[in-house]
């Protein structure tokens, strides 16, 4: 085995591979940081270039783009409250308030450190647990999936905003919006116009909900002015701050690695789950959402922690964990490699090369992040009255270019208005978004479970795993209600 590893190491350690990975990471960070441009877009656009490359470098390029874009999403989330990717939505909750307090660089540094650690640990988990974890994920059926998603949603609803109830209202709105489009039997639901038959894409909904309300707030309320553009002040994360967040970083990395290994979950759910867990267990829990470094650490370590882990089911079972690994599956096929258990027998050399390349790319992510951070922090110097219309511009171009669809641009603008309305009504946007992303999976698994059980809802509590999730859901609800009750009591005492 050692010989195989050394042989793979020498094969990876070439200037060509190094340049490919560096370009992938840099490209990914830049694409991820531009609102409206997603990691999926970057990986898809790079796919044709891999036709001319050897199998391992081509996969490394795509993996580097994936990792870079996942981290890059945090840059715009922190500086302009516009998550470049869905998985960075949680990062915006604390990152943007920190940027407004003049600690944008500090937030970016914490995001980078957490991302690199999460990414590195995720790669380690990929190397050691690929086969066993993939086998475990294989045993998760529709009822377990449904309960897992409901648990994730409950956690998110509980930690966003001031109220569990409003979080649940927001999640219900997201679930309802996710039903737009064609269902399993070909029924077009809520298809008011023909473009709605295909459903609503995630990107315009995400960007519209998070980025555009800032512009509308600026126009309607005019509370912010150029003096409020985040100054960059002290940028270094102190040892105390880092050590204070280390527990959440490690926990987030583990959460990301486990959830990333389950097909369909992906970095977004991992980030939300980790954020919720960090808020619940942290002594600074009350400060989450107001500019807490630990919140960024939890979210970023989990979303990057899921990147490597999404490769586990892909490599071991040939099942892509999310859209990006779905594109990568295509890249493997193009290169004549068929992911699955046989890959570990017939192409062990390539597997080792991939593992080593992924570890190296974690290190490259650190340097690329440091360099691009300086570049992106300049964004904070631009007056908001110019920056927010620029964001609108980038969003419109980015969204249009994904599918050349004017309808998507319309969705973007409408979601901006919806987001502003939710802000006025104090309804948090994060549960809406995660419910919108998880909605189709929740519904599909519920319907499958009911179909399998001949319509018996008891199937949702038919295995130890579903019971475990049910207990966790009750526990989270109980703890959140208790926390809110205590907060309300405290408020009354203060009054």
């Amino acid at each position: 085995m050692l010989n195989d590893v050394l042989s793979a190491l020498s094969a990876v350690a070439t200037l060509q591979n190094f340049l490919i990975m560096t370009a992938g990471i840099w490209g990914g960070v830049i694409v991820g940081a531009i609102p409206g441009m997603t990691g999926t877009m970057a990986v898809t656009l790079a796919l044709p270039f891999t036709f001319y490359m050897a199998p391992v470098p081509s996969i490394l390029l795509l993996v580097a783009l994936y990792k870079g874009s996942t981290y890059g999403g945090s840059v715009s989330a922190i500086l302009i409250k516009t998550p470049g990717t869905a998985s960075a939505a949680c990062t915006a909750l604390d990152g943007y308030p920190l940027a407004q307090q003049g600690k944008g660089g500090k937030a970016l540094n914490m995001a980078l450190y957490s991302s690199v650690i999460g990414d590195f640990l995720s790669n380690i988990s990929l190397i050691f647990f690929a086969a066993p974890l993939a086998l475990l994920a294989l045993h998760i059926g529709p009822p377990e999936f449904f309960m897992l998603m409901v648990f994730a949603l409950t956690t998110v609803a509980g930690v966003s905003g001031n109220s569990l109830l409003l979080g649940m209202v927001s999640a219900a709105l997201g679930l309802l919006l996710a039903t737009v489009g064609e269902d399993l039997y070909g029924s077009f639901r809520f298809a008011f116009v023909p473009d709605m038959q295909a459903g609503l894409s995630i990107a315009p909904v995400l960007i519209g909900l998070f980025a555009l309300p800032e512009l509308i707030k600026l126009v309607v309320l005019r509370a912010a002015n150029k003096d409020e553009a985040a100054p960059l002040g002290a940028q270094h994360v102190t040892r105390e701050e880092f050590m204070g967040s280390l527990r959440s970083i490690l926990k987030g990395s583990v959460i990301g690695s486990i959830l990333g290994a389950i097909p369909g979950i992906g970095p977004s759910s991992a980030a939300f789950f980790s954020y919720g867990e960090a808020q619940r267990s942290s002594k600074n829990g009350a400060n989450f959402g107001k500019g807490e470094l630990e919140g960024i650490a939890a979210s970023e370590s989990a979303n990057n922690g899921a990147c490597g882990a999404t490769m586990i089911p892909l490599l071991a079972l040939g099942v892509p964990g999310d859209v990006i690994t779905g594109v990568m599956l295509g890249a493997f096929m193009i290169q004549g490699l068929t992911p699955g258990p046989l890959l570990f027998q017939t192409n062990m050399h390539e597997i080792y090369m991939l593992f080593i390349g992924m570890l190296v790319s974690s290190v490259l992510l650190f340097f690329a992040g440091k360099v691009t951070m300086r570049m992106f922090t300049k964004v904070a110097l631009i007056p908001q009255t110019l920056l927010t219309p620029l964001v609108l511009l980038l969003c419109i171009f980015g969204i249009y270019s994904i599918a050349s669809s004017t309808f998507d641009v319309a969705v973007l603008l409408v979601m901006g208005l919806v987001g502003f309305g939710m802000f006025l009504l104090n309804i948090p946007a994060a549960p809406f978004l995660i419910a919108f992303i998880l909605g189709p999976m929740i519904e599909e698994n519920l319907r499958r479970a009911l179909a399998i059980s001949r319509g018996d809802p008891a199937v949702l509590l038919s295995s130890p795993i579903t019971w475990a999730f049910a207990v966790l859901i009750i526990l989270v609800l109980g703890l959140t209600v208790r926390r809110e009750f205590l907060k309300s009591k405290e408020r009354r005492v203060q009054q």
Binding site: R189, T388, L392, T406, L417, N426, R447
Partner: protein, 164 residues
């Protein structure tokens, strides 16, 4: 009507509209559904009913004074009427942009929308930057997406008629 009560009313009204009007009309059931599979309207109806229930809880809490603490919204101290007019301006700008796009093309529509938005923020100081942002940035972005990514943007029926 206080804000928490208004919020509860809006939530109940929205989900009730979905459950009792939109779902029966806009979620058709196929003639044949295999086995015990739930129909297409099962999930949206369930979510809508849960939404109504949650909305009623919001209302009850609002009336009992148990609504969550409201964070003060920062404004420039303008009157509500003025802010409503500004919001209407945003809605009209978005609507005009979408309506004009097929006629004047993507570029001109985006230039006009960006310029409108910058001016609506109240910014008048950085005139050169405003011009660059409204005209230069859309052209640069269009060139980038067009040449680097091959995205084809709509040219606009009106401009085509004029020979552009």
């Amino acid at each position: 009507m206080t804000k928490p009560v208004l919020r509860g009313v809006l939530v109940v009204a929205f989900f009730a509209l979905c459950a009792f009007y939109l779902i029966p009309v806009y979620v058709p059931r196929p003639a044949f559904i295999p086995g015990f599979a739930p129909p297409p309207d099962m999930w949206p109806r369930t979510v809508s009913l849960i939404g109504i229930f949650l909305g009623l809880l919001v209302l009850i809490l609002a009336f009992r004074g148990g609504a969550p603490a409201e964070e003060a919204i920062k404004t420039d101290k303008s009157s509500t009427k003025r802010m409503v007019l500004r919001f209407a301006g945003v809605v009209i700008a978005f609507g005009v942009f979408l309506a004009a796009l097929p006629f004047v093309g993507f570029l001109i529509a985006v230039i006009l929308l960006t310029l409108t938005m910058v001016l609506m923020t109240g910014e008048r100081n950085y005139r050169a930057w405003i011009a660059l942002l409204s005209v230069g940035a859309p052209i640069l972005l269009l060139l980038f997406f067009n040449f680097a990514l091959g995205t084809q943007f709509p040219k606009g029926a009106l401009l085509k008629t004029l020979g552009f």
